[in-house]
Symmetry: C2
Subunit: 282 residues, 2 copies
Amino acid sequence: MFEQITIIGVGLLGGSLGKAIKEKKIARKVVGIVRRKQSIKEVLSYKACDEVTLNIASGVKDADLIIIATPVGKIVPMVESILPHLKPNTIITDVGSVKEAIVDLAQEKCQGKALFIGSHPIAGSEKRGVNASSADLFKNTVCIVTPTKKSDKTALEKVISFWKKVNASVEILTVKEHDKVMAAASHLPHLIAATLVNSVFKQKKKKIEKFVGGGFKDTTRIASSSSKIWLDIFQSNQKEVLASLEIFKREIEKTINSLKHHKWQRLNSLLKNAKTSRDKVK
Amino acid sequence: MFEQITIIGVGLLGGSLGKAIKEKKIARKVVGIVRRKQSIKEVLSYKACDEVTLNIASGVKDADLIIIATPVGKIVPMVESILPHLKPNTIITDVGSVKEAIVDLAQEKCQGKALFIGSHPIAGSEKRGVNASSADLFKNTVCIVTPTKKSDKTALEKVISFWKKVNASVEILTVKEHDKVMAAASHLPHLIAATLVNSVFKQKKKKIEKFVGGGFKDTTRIASSSSKIWLDIFQSNQKEVLASLEIFKREIEKTINSLKHHKWQRLNSLLKNAKTSRDKVK
């Protein structure tokens, strides 16, 4: 399907992509670009790429498809720095959890130089690094692809086929739809988990960790993620995340209200609605 | 340690207790009391008790220790209905997630007739029923025991030893401390998970379930629990749960505020604090 795919940033997502590309033979060669010298050996030892380099220019020059798997805030700067080194019609995509702030700008920079298509595979875990990577990471997951009016049709088709080949099911959304949906489905839960941890540890400072059970653990697991990566996401999707939080605040006020005034039937409806909705998710 | 232990309500917790008692030989005989005829066969087939009966009087009359493993709202009524059938000095305990509303009343009813000690093993899962029971359910868990000034010392010691024998580690709290700690560590996360589901499904009604990832799934898993059981808990611990919710609301306002006004350093501190606290929990 491709002669060479280059992955920039070979962590959990980048490493899993490398393994999947090799396993499914989607490209003849997979090149990884990493930042630290010690990562070269690591990526090779996990067989996540065929070649690994620190040199951006040499890593991208022969690529037909480039996948940028860096944190959200570094994607557009990375697009800028690779552009001078590409051959014509190179396709660039990314895996960022935010799309409007990235795609509009990246597309503008690429104008006449490369073909940018935004992607967001909804995969990953609280684990990080190439050591946690797996060729099966994208199995049974959804990858959102976000074309715009300016997107090249052939590049779009190739990016869609690519995600299908690594076993993701593809959904097409506009960048705005994507950011709205993700603010609710992913960014909001993250902020709520962090806020919940802070308020639980506020209420009983003395060794509350002894008394938490499976419910607290599940509910707050993602609060252990990297604050740096998430701050980046909240900054890039500030408007939609704020809108989600405001909706959540109105819902929490309903919950407080029914508890405060012993409106048990109303509280029961809230709990039942939540169960019905949650049961739709496997 | 005991001649006969009787377990009232043989679901996940009751069934696991029966199996653990048999495995550790804590009693010569374990009797289960169930409500539905078909449960008799089921409990026996899972080897969770030696004998099972629908008859409360005959099930409790020879017991040295009775463990009430029914939903929270049924514990005190159950204490009342078994009292006329007990031999002297029978010890009664429970597994309820709320303690003040249960222990004060149960102790009063038992005055001169039986010895009541409140317990709350922090164990369980979103699974239910004797088919999910396991002798190892209490391994590496904490059981809170909540004596009062009126508690019989020998009965208290026996209940503590009992929980240690099933491999729980025992913490002693007053009923008020228990209810405060559990409001924060367990009841609050439950309400937040349910409220989160409702607000996420409100924001994008059209098939949001397609776009949720591991973060949402973990964070909201407990929203699939039985609304009936939890309504019971919120009613019984209304005051403390409300206090926890108010603290949470103040924290969510801080989060909203820092996002709204681009106070990124402050938001970063909130995320970092949450990570530090959450990392304390295994």
